[in-house]
């Protein structure tokens, strides 16, 4: 029989679970919005976005060509079920505020309150070098540490970057992910809006992370931010993104493109804590280039969304370049996390690792899908791929689709995969030390994901653990 403490704890946990809607899932009234495009995708919609942003001709042409690619490509039938997305039932561009401020006080009240509730201004004060906050289609707040600015670091939203640093943007734009790469990249290229532009000059080390926070508020919204990070020789930067959305009964779509160029000996870490509400399709293309002796790291945590299809990739194009992908996926009821990573060794003495951890519960489905390729000529390359899946109950599902292609005889490649269930013995053992069943289960899960959380800045590790706890409610039944 449950003790009063256990009952109280259960109630508390039930309270935690109920608060996605309150903490993240709330929505603001759409009063005072500057512009909301009608639903649906057409040449006119794409042209109006470009016109509204007063873009140069080449960008307008780029968008229209991308739209043709999008329309001519079939919807992918692999991965998750994309058949239910109605591309005509989506608002492709919503401008909530007329301006992008550098002062929180200038941000419209409702929007500012939202970011206050999400803790963004507080995080900025405490441990960030710069913050960008995107609300609907555009960035409403952007600020970067003055000292970094004086060193030549650029951290701004992509729309502003296109206006103020057009040549730099154009030099790298879509060179890592061309619009015709895949159907969703084509869609993003046609209707992109917002996202971050980061430029770190040679030798500059950005000590505290830069962060962007993405928020969808409108129902049936499509958010299509575009991020480009250029880390010059010997530079160092850590970029973090987080995202949440209101809980609606109809679906929204998030389809970003993220391109990263790590020049020789540069180091870039890109951390994502994805916590979209469970009515969001999250279909993202992320790709990075690591030149000679550069290090690229993706830390990718997928907790929310209805369906996520995301495989951050790294092209190790220079000798001795190094790539790491740490991926964690949590699939609860009604969720499918189709995640993983790709690493291509295209130069000698390159090294990499992929660590993937997934947890499925309440009928959720987690998929690891990955590619490791050692190209001809990438001699003396080393890589290790580890995929671990944890199933919390009989109804949940885990699949692993690893692909490994080796073109050199002297490559040193290892692959390990495990699927496990939380064992009754483990829970019993912890219970015998005074923990209740829920606590025991949470402790096992936290231990399972610890290799990923230890790589996160402390504030995010705490947040991630809290989110996992929130998702874990009711997992022992």
């Amino acid at each position: 029989m449950a003790t009063p403490e256990a009952v109280a704890e259960k109630r508390e946990l039930a309270g935690i679970n109920a608060d996605y809607k309150e903490k993240f899932g709330f929505h603001d009234p759409e009063t005072g919005y500057a512009y909301k495009a009608p639903k649906g995708l057409s040449r006119e919609v794409v042209e109006s976005i470009s016109e509204y942003k007063d873009e140069p001709r080449w960008m307008r042409d780029f968008r229209l060509k991308a739209l043709e690619h999008f329309e001519s490509r079939p919807t992918p039938t692999w991965g998750g079920n994309l058949g239910q997305i109605d591309f005509e039932d989506i608002h492709y561009f919503v401008r909530a505020s007329e301006k992008n401020s550098r002062d929180w006080d200038e941000v419209p009240e409702d929007i500012k309150n939202t970011f206050d509730r999400l803790g963004i201004p507080e995080a900025e004060r405490k441990f960030l070098s710069g913050v960008g906050a995107q609300y609907e289609s555009e960035v409403v707040y952007h600020q970067v540490n003055e000292k970094l600015e004086a060193q030549g670091v650029i951290f701004t939203d992509m729309d502003t970057a296109l206006r103020e640093h057009e040549d730099l943007v154009r030099e790298y734009w879509a060179t890592i992910i061309p619009p015709n790469d895949n159907k969703l990249a084509a869609l993003n290229s046609a209707v992109w809006s917002g996202g971050s532009f980061v430029y770190v000059p040679a030798g500059v080390k950005v000590e505290m992370p830069l962060q962007a926070y993405f928020r969808i508020n409108t129902e049936n919204m499509g958010q299509f931010e575009r991020t480009l990070i250029i880390a010059e020789e010997g530079s160092d930067v850590h970029y973090i993104e987080g995202c949440t959305a209101p809980v609606y009964s109809t679906d929204s779509l998030h389809s970003a493109v993220v391109e990263i160029m790590a020049k020789p000996s540069a180091r870039v870490r890109y951390t994502t804590v994805q916590n979209w509400s469970q009515n969001v399709y999250n279909l993202v293309t992320k790709r990075a280039v690591a030149q000679e002796k550069a290090t690229m790291e993706w830390v990718d945590c997928n907790l929310g969304s209805k369906l996520t299809m995301k495989y951050p990739s790294i092209y190790l194009l220079g000798q001795e370049a190094h790539g790491e992908i740490l991926s964690i996926a949590f699939a609860g009821e009604g969720q499918h996390q189709d995640a993983g990573g790709k690493i291509i060794h295209a130069a000698p003495r390159t090294s990499s690792s992929i660590f993937s951890k997934s947890i499925s519960k309440d009928g959720g489905r987690a998929t690891y899908r990955g590619l490791l390729e050692v190209a001809d000529g990438a001699t003396e390359s080393r890589s290790k791929v580890v995929c671990d899946a944890l199933l919390l109950d009989e109804d949940s599902r885990s699949d692993t689709y690893p692909t490994i292609r080796i073109g050199e005889n002297d490559a040193d490649v290892g692959h390990e995969a495990t699927v496990s269930k939380i064992g009754d013995e483990q829970v019993f053992y912890l219970q015998s030390h005074g923990l209740d069943e829920e606590e025991a289960s949470k402790m096992i899960v936290n231990g399972f994901i610890e290799p990923v959380t230890k790589e996160l800045p402390m504030e995010y590790a705490v947040e991630l653990n809290r989110l996992i706890e929130l998702q874990m409610e009711g997992s022992i039944g």
Binding site: A174, P178, N180, D181, R287, I344, A375
Partner: protein, 87 residues
Amino acid sequence: MRLVEHDGVKIGVFNCDGTLYAIEDRCSHDDGPLAEGEFDGSTCTVECPRHGSLFDLTTGRPKTLPAYAPVRTFTTAVVDDTIVLEV
């Protein structure tokens, strides 16, 4: 662009402002056909119709991902009004 075949190898021949370039009709990314992609004479590039990699016809090197390896190129010459490729 003219597509020709020699010994089972398909080759695309391009005219960039009067200079002729020839590349194998096979994208280094996934071996798909390349030469019939969008050709830009002013930059002397061709875009792979399958995944969008842009190739420099003068060198065969990709200027954008997802391809990272060069495609095979062939030396061209005009002899008595006939284009000759060195294979």
